[in-house]
Symmetry: C3
Subunit: 340 residues, 3 copies
């Protein structure tokens, strides 16, 4: 897709400084710009690249005062970052709308329906009695079990697996290899020391605008539902156990694990490789630092914790700074005891 600089400026409600008829056909970082590329400059730290970039055009703030001559063409806008972000979205929507239709062979079970403008890739599978909305993209090798509901504009990437009975909202993204609805890890210990599998008959509910990362796993509830609410974003390789509830607009970074029946609030930020034990609740706006282990309920909104087991972030920082000098502390105590 090729556009003139003027066309881009019009789309962004900006002004051209330079040649509006120059053409661009792709996006690039300003430091990596070559002819045909469109870049942007938001962070002043990168301003020096503006004078040397090979990009055909750069989006800049309209208040920017040039310190040297530029050879590239400028598009002046209110907020370059946000303008570029808009551009990225238009670009992705254009790409997405180009992908439509059905590649054969693919499988659609009896009594299942799918709305208009969809894409179903080769070797994708939709079981029986599914209800799939419009503008839904289902990539190759994705699996959707029986009785699944999927809202409009949702994208299921290659090889994602959605177990039967799952409910997925609108505008959700399920990345490649993610598993939604696998059995919870429930085994009843028997007298002889063996384990009996506890059948897991619940499901998973993802509300609208939820994103699930690549190869993440979301277990179904033993009974009832494992729920991820509106707008929450789950990163790659995260494990969410049976009957967990995650509130609205909460972010969970990569490789974190949340144990059974834990309840996470709204607007929380859970960093990477965190572990959260089962059956506790975490207040809204809680921040949990990376690699922490949360073992107790957090009641106060906006708490920031760190460590394994986790406690107050600042207190942990101070304890860690003494920890590094523990051999010295031990030596000081030894001296005091000798001289006593």
């Amino acid at each position: 897709m090729e556009f003139t600089v003027q066309q881009i400026a019009d789309l962004l409600q900006g002004q051209v400084q330079g040649d509006g008829q120059a053409t661009v056909n792709r996006l690039a970082k300003i430091e990596e710009g070559t002819p045909g590329a469109l870049s942007f400059l938001s962070n002043p730290k990168y301003e020096h690249f503006l004078y040397t970039t090979g990009a055909s055009a750069v989006i800049v703030g309209k208040t920017l005062e040039l310190k040297q001559a530029v050879t590239t063409n400028l598009i002046l806008v209110e907020d370059p970052y946000s303008a570029f972000s808009t551009l990225l979205e238009v670009y992705q929507q254009a790409l997405a709308s180009m992908r439509e239709g059905v590649e054969e062979p693919c499988f659609l079970g009896e009594n299942s329906s799918i709305g208009p403008n969809h894409y179903r890739g080769a070797f994708s599978y939709i079981g029986k009695n599914c209800r799939v909305g419009k503008n839904v993209h289902i990539y190759p090798n994705a699996y959707i079990g029986d009785n699944v509901t999927i809202g409009d504009n949702t994208v299921i990437y290659a090889g994602a697996k959605i177990y039967p009975e799952t409910v997925i909202g609108s505008s959700c993204t399920i990345h490649a290899g993610a598993v939604v609805g696998s059995d919870g890890f429930g085994f009843a210990p028997q007298k002889d020391g063996s384990y009996k599998t506890i059948p897991q008959i619940g499901n998973v509910v993802l509300e609208d605008h939820v994103s699930i990362g690549a190869n993440a796993t979301i277990d179904c509830a033993t009974m009832g539902s494992t729920i991820i609410r509106l707008g929450s974003k789950i990163d790659n390789l995260v494990q969410i156990a049976h009957n967990v509830e995650i509130g609205q607009h909460t972010v969970v970074a990569a490789q974190t694990g949340i144990s059974g029946s834990a309840k996470i609030g709204n607007h929380c930020t859970i960093a990477g490789q965190v572990g959260i034990v089962g059956h506790i609740s975490i207040a809204d706006k809680t921040i949990v630092g990376a690699q922490s282990g949360v073992s107790k309920t957090i009641k106060e909104t906006g708490t920031f914790i760190q460590g394994s087991p986790a406690f107050d972030y600042k207190q942990n920082l101070r304890a860690m700074s003494v920890f590094r000098k523990l051999p010295e502390l031990q030596k000081q105590v030894d001296e005091l005891r000798e001289k006593r």
Copy 2:
């Protein structure tokens, strides 16, 4: 499927109190019960829900003394939890038995056989020279390489990948996206600093009643076999490296990693996000707390360890409680030194 309350009571060898002709068609938690639902009450903490539940019937202990009138119908049994558990199993078996047959296209390599009453989903793949038992369910997009053996009643969920030469016992469950038999991480450092791949020619052996969680990875042995013994349960996203041996009836929770040639005993409980180094052995009935790092052989049966690196659980607890107050301890020592 709809049943009368009397039919359920007969199945559970219980007695009806109320209307035996009322009908139920699904299972639900007592606090979420609506007409048509069948629930159970085991934990006394939930007894108050019995008087308000909308469920059509509730399974209760026959010794329960009602504190108020109930509007729901009761099924009196010896042990409500175990009765409900039985019901769940019957329910799942009924669901499973409904899934039978072959969905096309699917792939069956030359000289492979599969027993009666099986399900093979669309886009599932079985390589050459495989021996698959009876009542086996292989879900869509699952891959089974050449020369694999699978016992009776085993379920391979959607998109699981079983490498060639793997041996899987009876009544095993391999959840979606799990990888069994991938190459061990073996690379020989060369003089120029590069790495040469060490071919991995061993396999994986899963004995009977083993469960492998979603997106877990079990590497094959360099030579010989990586082995998971009778009844052990491996949770989601667990990594088991080449030549590891896991004993009988051991449970490994989510996101734990076990390094090459480690040997884990019988009846162990390994919590989530644990790391175990290679070439050590862990005695029977060892319990390893969450996020621990096990760096040494555990010789004593029934040891409970915690921490990274892990040591005695109680000792770790006490050390952690001083850790939190380290800044204060440092201050106390500083004062003592000043006043000396």
Copy 3:
């Protein structure tokens, strides 16, 4: 495949001691050898097995002095480990070369090309405009999106997912279930507390001889490329975020996570379950111990760090040894204060 002991000796430029016409048909550990097996003895610790092994032949060093009579046949070579390693490679190459051709149905998008001597498994998918080299093996249920480039001799195992625009070099191995090119975890917080998805338009570049483990996830760059350079080896379930750069011949063990825009040097060794924060750089030849959390740039080549947060390995070891005795240290301080 069956060979005489003499044929094996000729291949390894070794000498037979015993019956050169004896036949072998598989490889086995010396302690597990049974008739028909070929083993090797490199580590003197295992020498006693040489006198009792059931293997039909054993590769040994030509300087070995026998302490007892042997019943097996010997193949005398310069370096038994390296000879056996050569044998393993020949074995694997023979296996690989036997796998050739196309299993139907599989999908090849328009305007895509693939070189000679390839294998494409059933239900494998190659999108549009892909350029795939020669001797490439693509296993069943693997997915390769549009505009992907793959070099010669690369193997893509079952169910691996390669997103559009990815560039993969020669002699790479992508294990089952790995995801290469998924969206980076980029979300811009909005004033109402919700998150807006930042489109990710970059890609992933894997240079030659790179290995990606089973179910590992490599995110694409927001813009530009996430890069893994020549000869680096990534283990199972590793997470590599957007815009990360990993140098040459670096090894990253299982379940490690590397956050956005971190830059790892050449010849580094990152152990298992490590976390590395975003936007830092790690010098060449750095060693990071298992379960560590790296929060700061490492400038000095050859640094060895441990802990969460990580600092000097030896210093951490000493601090940990005091940590275990913290309750005792506290008691000592309490006593000093009382007696003051």
